[in-house]
Every structure is written in C-alpha cells, then in structure tokens.
Symmetry: C2
Subunit: 353 residues, 2 copies
Amino acid sequence: MKSIILNTPSCDSTIYCGEGAFKERTQYLKDKKLFVITDSNVHKIYAPLIKEAFGENYVFVMPAGEGSKNHTQLFKILSAMLENGVTRSSVVVALGGGVVGDVAGLAASLYMRGVKLVQIPTTLLSQVDSSVGGKTAVDFKGVKNVVGTFYQPGEVIVDPMFLNTLPKREIRCGLGEIIKYGALDKGIYKSLIKNRAHLKGIKFLEDITFDCIAHKAEVVRADERDVGGRRKTLNLGHTTGHAFELYYRRKSHGEFVLIGMYYELFIARRMGICGGRYADNLEKLIKKVIGKIPAYEDAERAAIFAKYDKKNTATTQVSVIVPKCEGESEEIKLQLEEYAGFIAQCRDSLLEG
Amino acid sequence: MKSIILNTPSCDSTIYCGEGAFKERTQYLKDKKLFVITDSNVHKIYAPLIKEAFGENYVFVMPAGEGSKNHTQLFKILSAMLENGVTRSSVVVALGGGVVGDVAGLAASLYMRGVKLVQIPTTLLSQVDSSVGGKTAVDFKGVKNVVGTFYQPGEVIVDPMFLNTLPKREIRCGLGEIIKYGALDKGIYKSLIKNRAHLKGIKFLEDITFDCIAHKAEVVRADERDVGGRRKTLNLGHTTGHAFELYYRRKSHGEFVLIGMYYELFIARRMGICGGRYADNLEKLIKKVIGKIPAYEDAERAAIFAKYDKKNTATTQVSVIVPKCEGESEEIKLQLEEYAGFIAQCRDSLLEG
C-alpha cells in the first residue's frame, strides 16, 4: 500500500492506494460514528464486506446510476443523516463509483457546514480520477455538475480488489481517463505504451492508478479551485466529450472522454500542434480501448453543446485542451463555428477511413 | 468609508464600511454580469435604488422572513441563475438581512462550485454579524442552519443608510449581537458604556458596527471553519438563545441572543466566573435594549433543546460561552440537567425580582 498526501489551503487529504488498503484503513474507522453511503449495485455484491467493515453503522443505499445524481437524492441523504443523529464529529463514508462519491461528498460538505469525508471509490474511473481532488456535485435541470462544492475528503482509500467485480465496460471507462493522464504525463504515457498488450490487467491497473492519482494530486495542490489554469489541463478530452455526452447521452462518461480525445487530437493535428509518431501512438491507445470511433452524423450540431460547459465563460468561444507532445498539452480557444467545423471534418474523415 | 481585509485560507474578502459605501462600491460592479438576490421588504422600499445601482441585471425577490430559509427557495434561486445564464465570471449580489445573506450565499457557493459573492447587508444584525465570516445556510427539517457551507464573500458593503428604514425591533436585534461583542471585546464594551444614553443613534451604530466587524474579522482569520475554538467565542449568548428560539419561536434571533446572554450571565455569576460591577453593567446594557427579561414558565424544558445545537457533539453535555471580565470570556461545559437547573434558577430569580 502506498500513500500520497494532498495538502491544499482548505484541508489535508491522504490517499491510500494498493492491495489491502480497504481492510487496513477501515480498521481505523471502527471507533467512530459512521454514516455510510453506497449504491444498490455495490451493496448487492459487497453486503458482507460492508457489514464486516462498518458493523452496526447506518448504511444509506442509493439507487445505482447517473439518475441518482440529483438534489432529491441529496436531500434524502441529508434527511437520513439528521434522523440518525450524525454530528460534526461523525464520518461520512462514500463507498461506490463517481455518482456515489459526488453526491455523498456534497452531502458531507453541506451537513452542518462539513463533516469528515472518506472516499472509497469502487470503479476504475472514480479510483483514477473523481475520488481525488474534492469536486462534489449533483446535476440540475439537465446541466451536469452545476450544483456542487470543492470539499476535500480527509482520506481516500483506493483498493484494486473492487476492480475484480467490475463489468468490462467500466474498465474501459476508467481507461479513458487513464489515457487522458497519458496525454498529460510523460511517465504515464511511457507506461501505457510499454504495457499496451495488457492494459486491462489488474496489476497494471493498480500501478497506473497510483501514477494517475499522483499526477492529479500535484495539479490539485497547485490549483485546488480550478482557477489558475493548471487544473484546466485535466479537462483534456472533456470539452468534446461533455458536448457529445449532453447531446447523445447513450454512452458513459469515460467512453465519451475517449471519443472526445480522438476528435480533439484530430483538431490538434489539423492545427499543427501535435503530430508524428506521438499522435499516432495516442490514437492507437484510444482505439485499442474503445474500438471503433463513432462518426456521428450530426456531430457539428452536438459540438455546439460545448458552450454549455460551465468552464466556458464566453458564449461564442470554446476552450479545448489538446495534446502537444509527450507530457505536454496546450489550451486553444476556438470560435464556436470553427470548432464545430473541425468536429465535422473529423467525422468526415472517419466516414472516409 | 473604512475598510477591513479579511484573509482566510480560502479567499480574500474586503469589507467596506460607512456612509456612502453602497454608492461608491456598486459603481465597480457596473461592468459585470450580476445576479441580484433580495427580499420583498427590501425591494418594496428600495426598488428605485436597486434599479439605479444594478440597471438591467436580473433581480430575484424572495418572500421576506425566516420562512424563506429553506432548500425549496435555494433551488428556486439556482434555477433562476441557470435560466439567466449566470456563468463563473458573474457576480451574485445578496442585498438584504440575514436570511437573504444566508440563502444567497449558499446559492453562490454551490452554483458551478462557486461564483463571486458580494454581500450588502441591510439590517443592523446582518451588518454587525452574519454578512461577515462566510457562513451560509438554510434550515432543514426544523433544524436551524443545518445545511450550509463556509464561503467567503469577495466583498461586503456595509452602509448605514439602510438603518434609517429599519423597524425599531430590528435595531434592538442588532444591538443584541453588538452587546455580545461588548462581552468579548474591551474596546467595544467601553464604547457601549460611554454611549449607553444613545445606543440607537445612527452615528454611534455606524462606528460600533465597524468595531464589531473588525473583531469578527480577527476571529474568523484565526479560525475560519470554527474548529480551533476561537470562533466558538462568538457563540456567547447563543447556546441558550438558540435553545429558547427552537422552543418558543415567537421572538427573533437578536432578541433571543439578548435573553440567552442574560440567562448565561446568571450562570457565570452563580459559578463565580463573572461578578461585581462588570456583571452589573452587562446586565444593565442587556435590559436597556430588551426591557423586561421573560421568566419562561417551562424554561428548564426549553433548555434541553440546547442539545440540538450543531456545535454540540456530545449528547448529554452542553457547551456555554460565558462572560468573565472586560474583554474575556470562558467556555464552560455542563451536564444537561445541571444546565437546565441553572436556567430554572434564573427564571425563579426573575419571578422573585
């Protein structure tokens, strides 16, 4: 088990990562009053483990899925916290994927203006990305993550044990974010290239997860509230990914990030920002994980949805983080029509290819 | 106009205080996209001023009163923010008393994980206390302030102009918090004693408001998240005040703080913590503002409600901040029954007196 300390102005967060982390770290929670939040999928598989680790503490079970990421669910949780006598010295445990982490994190940050939060991510996507960094949120009126807080968990427990029960699609989604980190971090890129034959192996995933978390921790340390530009780089693949996610909705977040990266890599190539063997390798990694890239018929219309991203403060311009060379990315700003034009060109090239 | 800079780990906040502050500072907001939140009382009196200062920007008008401090109202505001295209570079202006400040502050902290907030408190109570320090909240399931955040306003504009249209009762409420500061701060105490003949004069209130804010800023700087003990001192009068407020509900917050201070001063005297001329003077100040102290028939039952204060993590013990001597207070911890016993004794002494 390895650990990373993430100091930010608001809180010190410790991330424990590796085999055995769950068993070892939950020991230390035994003498606290806990309020455990999980979802119906996790509860179905891990009920005995939950009982063993958290004993008689209250376990709130949310319906699994993105549909639970709303303020109705949030206030159901806050209500149960009140009814169960949660106090400022209690600890909220979020055991699940990104949705559980986001909603439980928001509940923990709001209840009595903040009680201690322990994130125990159970999906690859939440392990490499969403459980670290303190972003919490619910969706509202069709807008993703528009109501939320920055609230650092006191502890994040990342145990690869949970990956064994994940559906293949969930592994693919997590690899989407991992490849994003590959485009931002030289070491992760090299590791991906070296291990490209067995990207889905549990041992490889355990190691690369730690590297991704270490990268993210460094970025969050420098720019916790996403204002200094550094945290913005983590948005690589996301401008287009989010736009497609809003418009098409069928796939899941990690898949859209991969598709977004493909389209944005196309833009970087066309603009002469990225090219050669590096661009070819990135493209191969993306395709290796997702297989066929969809050539969306109305991609230019979907692209317009990029303007609804909350990171965009301008209404006619879109900010895109594109890969440049090993370990380097670049922010480009495009007029909305220009951006949609590139997206359409990429779609056409997919149809031709 | 004077100003105080309040640096905390999360944000730098500037408080502008004095005659003309509103006109002078709202000038600088003219080139921003604003979302103004106020209540029906303030809007009725100040519609022309609002129009002049904020032009065509959207003005959200909440129904006046404590009844609006709930999550339904909060999500109405968030919904209007979305519909009006508020972005991360917009500014939320909270123009009103404590309820507007608390709900609007929470909305600003949650929308896109935080947009800039300007507090313009219009009541004496919110000017001396709630607009400074970054506590935001709504009530939930009958529990006061149980859902909220710590979120510093970028700017607080405190203009005594608004005091001219306040009902007398509102001035009394604000004086409740001011006398609390008198029990914590030697300078404020001396100023109260010196000016006791004209406590309700606007010029005196303008000066003492600045002193109270300066005191609070110093405390918040040292203990933003209310964990180090220092911010706890601001709770003087509030343990008993909140318990009575929960139980009796008829009076308003500032009045209950005054009544709470009276009962808690009684405890401090009985325990030999506070006494002599200082205790007599404090008592006189309290009585001068509120007049007759209620001798609640079932005061010991009401006192039990102190255990529902979110600052209490123990369930059988109550923490009370009591005055000690000029500029000094002390935290005492009492068993619930012992505390209720003191409260009953104080009630009995009022009946006898």
